[in-house]
């Protein structure tokens, strides 16, 4: 008796697998033949990798500034020389303020360091000022520049102190160390962020668009009248994109390691597992959106809006989550990208930190489960 049921079950399995395989084959051919799928699945990730690896950087170097030496006394010239020697500045020496201000106005320079005419006299009296004007438009950059100017002036004061003028070194000196990124290289956090964007793009956007196109053209309805079951359609449709996402993942990790030399300090297994979980969620969101709006243009824009833009802006890979207002922070908890970014940053730079891996993976798994339930509901609607 039990033998019969098991054979009949395996009999039911075999055509099922065959149908899924046929669908996967058909969908894969469609991907390979459609230049636009290749564009979003392969070309766009490549462009993003190159842009992130070579184009984007938050490191500030060779800042064009004007150094105004109003009176070339030995002290003033020596102080100005400090700016010339610094790798952070590309100083332009001048004797008066107005041309420097004009340059700042036209944004040809980022700041003005003004060494006043009476520097030597005030130094002797112990109350000398160096004036710094920065272009505050880009506040982040302005703050970094302020820090660098502080460094140059501080180094010069320390040299004066070493020459015997007492009381120049401050009581407390900060000795800072940056863990996980000793060289303070911004590609260390930009490249893991890139992985998130590429996975989101392939998983979410491509799936949403392809499915919406099927809805628009009515080819999905004609699939429904075939003996193929709904879950088989879903599986057959998504497996090829899953494979494409896998390919994008391998591409990203390889280029991170060998092109941009970002360390991978954690284990490949964790990285892979988390990424697959995330792709599943992105696929699910893409499917849900496309079956809800059934229109390519709206589906693609909605997917951009709920997956790609948040992955860029609200995931914590660029902007610090803790500093966002409570309402916005609440929104980020609903975004899978947030957990994926935390996982990626830790696995790439810090290693297998289980106190980060476990809660974030659990959150992703819960989202995947919720989506699976959601697609079940969708199946009922279709059937």
């Amino acid at each position: 008796m039990s033998l019969i049921t098991s054979t009949s079950r395996s009999n039911a399995w075999r055509p099922k697998l065959r149908r899924i395989r046929a669908l996967v084959l058909k969908e894969s051919r469609q991907i390979v033949r459609d230049p636009s799928s290749i564009a979003i699945g392969v070309v766009l990730p490549l462009i993003l990798i190159l842009l992130f690896g070579y184009g984007l950087s938050l490191d500030v170097k060779n800042v064009p500034i004007a150094v105004v030496i109003e009176n070339p006394t030995p002290e003033a010239v020596e102080l100005a020389a400090g700016f010339q020697l610094s790798p952070y500045f590309k100083p332009w020496m001048t004797r008066s303020m107005p041309p420097a201000q004009q340059n700042l106005l036209e944004h040809r320079i980022d700041g003005i360091v003004r060494i006043p005419a009476d520097l030597s006299r005030h130094l002797a009296a112990g109350d000398a000022d160096v004036q710094l004007i920065v272009h505050g438009g880009d506040a982040n950059r302005a703050r970094i520049i302020e820090g660098y100017v502080q460094g140059v002036v501080g180094a010069w004061s320390a040299r004066l102190g070493a020459q015997g003028q007492a009381g120049l070194s401050p009581p407390v000196t900060v000795q800072a160390r940056l863990w996980f990124n000793e060289a303070n290289d911004s590609s260390y956090f930009l490249v893991p962020g890139l992985v998130v964007l590429v996975m989101t793009l392939i998983g979410g956007l491509l799936t949403a668009m392809v499915m919406a196109r099927e809805w628009e053209r009515g080819t999905l309805e004609s699939l429904f009248v075939t003996p193929v079951r709904t879950e088989e359609i879903l599986l057959g449709k998504t497996l090829p994109y899953f494979a494409l996402a896998l390919f994008g993942f391998v591409l990203c990790v390889l280029s991170a390691k060998f092109l941009f030399h970002v360390p991978l300090r954690g284990s490949m297994g964790v990285l892979f597992g988390a990424s697959m979980l995330y792709v599943l969620i992105a696929l699910g969101i893409g499917l849900l959106i496309s079956s809800w709006v059934k229109n390519q243009l709206v589906a693609s824009q909605l997917t951009m809006l709920v997956t790609f833009m948040p992955a860029f802006m609200l995931s914590g890979f660029l902007f610090d989550l803790r500093s966002m207002p409570t309402v916005v922070r609440m929104i980020t908890y609903a975004l899978p990208a947030r957990y994926y970014v935390a996982l990626l940053q830790s696995v790439f730079l810090a290693g297998d930190v289980w106190s980060v891996i476990v809660p974030n993976t659990l959150a992703l798994a819960a989202m995947a489960a919720a989506l699976a339930l959601g697609s079940r509901a969708m199946r009922k609607v279709l059937a």
Binding site: A139, N140, A142, E182, L318
Partner: protein, 375 residues
């Protein structure tokens, strides 16, 4: 004169039809008007490099009045939140690893003694460098609090303040808020996406549905069809830009220093260039999906290499040259400079002529391709 009037009327008729096609459906109406405003609101809050909440743990091995005074300076700043008081140096790793603390402030046993003896003391600072930009900013905040501590300590213990100090001032953004920099930049960014896509899709839709051939047999000339496709996107782009501008001014209360006329002159030039690119895409693409994908392929590098989130001057030289053909780069520069600095048209020439060139080249290329495809 009659032909000119006829052209104008035909363009207007096509524009009206085009706007109807876009706006008749509630969903697509919403998808044009709501996203830019919602994005401006959310990203306006999110897209900031400023920190207002930094978690740190103190490892105070000195337990002296001086070390407490220093830590009180951190706690009282309103930015730093002490999440733990560590007893052993071995606890540091787990706190940083689990991301509970962004910073560890370590004060050695001899801290106060060194301070009192006048030889100077060290403060050890360890930061979680997984996001090195955030960590760098937080370390900068600590440095300025330590500077203040040094001044106070010197004052209380009769040490002369350092003879040389820096008086810093930031033009156009006195409190150095990133938000002031980000939100005006978003006016162009949020507008670009849909303006370009809408244009690219409108022709592709006609082609896919076969109505493009019907348009061709009407008395419309290729140029008029193109203008009729460009105008609606222009209208939508202008309205979207206005929405983001309103959010910046009314919600975030960022003072507008320039003139609206200048801003809109720059934006119109930018929209023309964006629409030109969109039309070019639609001339190349055969289907709606291709049109959408090709525009996406352009929009992404455009927005990443625009200077919105990372400065163009930090990019490698070759990439900086590439950004020369990016209309968004100029638009962001224009909106920021008009908005924050109150720059007039004379200061914006260096942004306006590349946009004009881009618009001229793309629009004429698109119209050439249209007329050649049609005949």
């Amino acid at each position: 004169m009659n032909t000119l009037l006829g052209t104008l009327l035909r363009i207007l008729a096509l524009t009206r039809k085009e706007l109807l096609a876009v706006l008749k459906d509630r969903r697509s109406r919403m998808s044009l008007l709501i996203p830019p405003v919602v994005q401006a609101l959310i990203f306006g809050y999110a897209a900031t490099y400023d920190l207002n909440h930094v978690t740190y743990a103190a490892l105070d091995q000195d337990h002296s009045a001086a070390s407490r005074q220093l830590l009180a300076g951190l706690d009282g700043s309103g930015v730093f939140e002490r999440v733990a008081d560590l007893q052993r140096a071995s606890d540091v790793k787990s706190l940083i690893d689990s991301r509970r603390a962004l910073l560890i402030v370590q004060i050695d046993q001899q801290f106060e003694r060194h301070l009192l003896s006048g030889q100077g003391a060290d403060l050890q600072l360890i930061a979680d460098g997984r996001n090195s930009n955030t960590a760098g900013t937080a370390m900068g905040y600590v440095s300025s609090i330590v500077d203040q501590f040094n001044l106070d300590w010197g004052h209380d213990h009769g040490i002369a303040p350092p003879p040389l100090h820096i008086v810093a001032r930031a033009w156009y953004n006195p409190n150095l808020e990133t938000r002031w920099f980000m939100i005006p930049g978003m006016i162009g960014t949020l507008t670009l996406i849909q303006t370009m896509m809408l244009t690219a899709m409108s022709v592709a839709r006609e082609r896919e549905q076969g109505t493009f051939d019907q348009l061709l047999v009407t008395p419309f000339r290729p140029f008029e069809i193109m203008a009729g496709k460009a105008l609606p996107s222009m209208v939508v782009g202008t309205i979207q830009a206005g929405g983001v501008l309103l959010v910046a001014q009314l919600w975030f209360r960022i003072p507008f220093a320039g003139s609206y006329l200048t801003l809109y002159a720059g934006l119109l030039m930018f929209l023309l260039a964006a629409i030109g690119i969109g039309l070019l895409v639609s001339a190349v693409a055969a289907t709606m999906q291709q049109a959408m994908l090709y525009s996406m392929l352009l929009i992404m590098p455009f927005s990443l290499l625009s200077g919105l989130t990372t400065p163009i001057s930090s990019m490698p030289r070759a990439v900086q040259y590439l950004t020369a053909i990016n209309p968004l780069r100029y638009a962001i520069d224009i909106t920021r400079r008009v908005y924050l600095e109150g720059a007039g048209l004379d200061l914006l020439i260096s942004d306006l002529w590349p946009l004009a060139l881009l618009a001229a080249v793309t629009l004429s290329a698109a119209s050439w391709m249209f007329s050649h495809r049609m005949q």
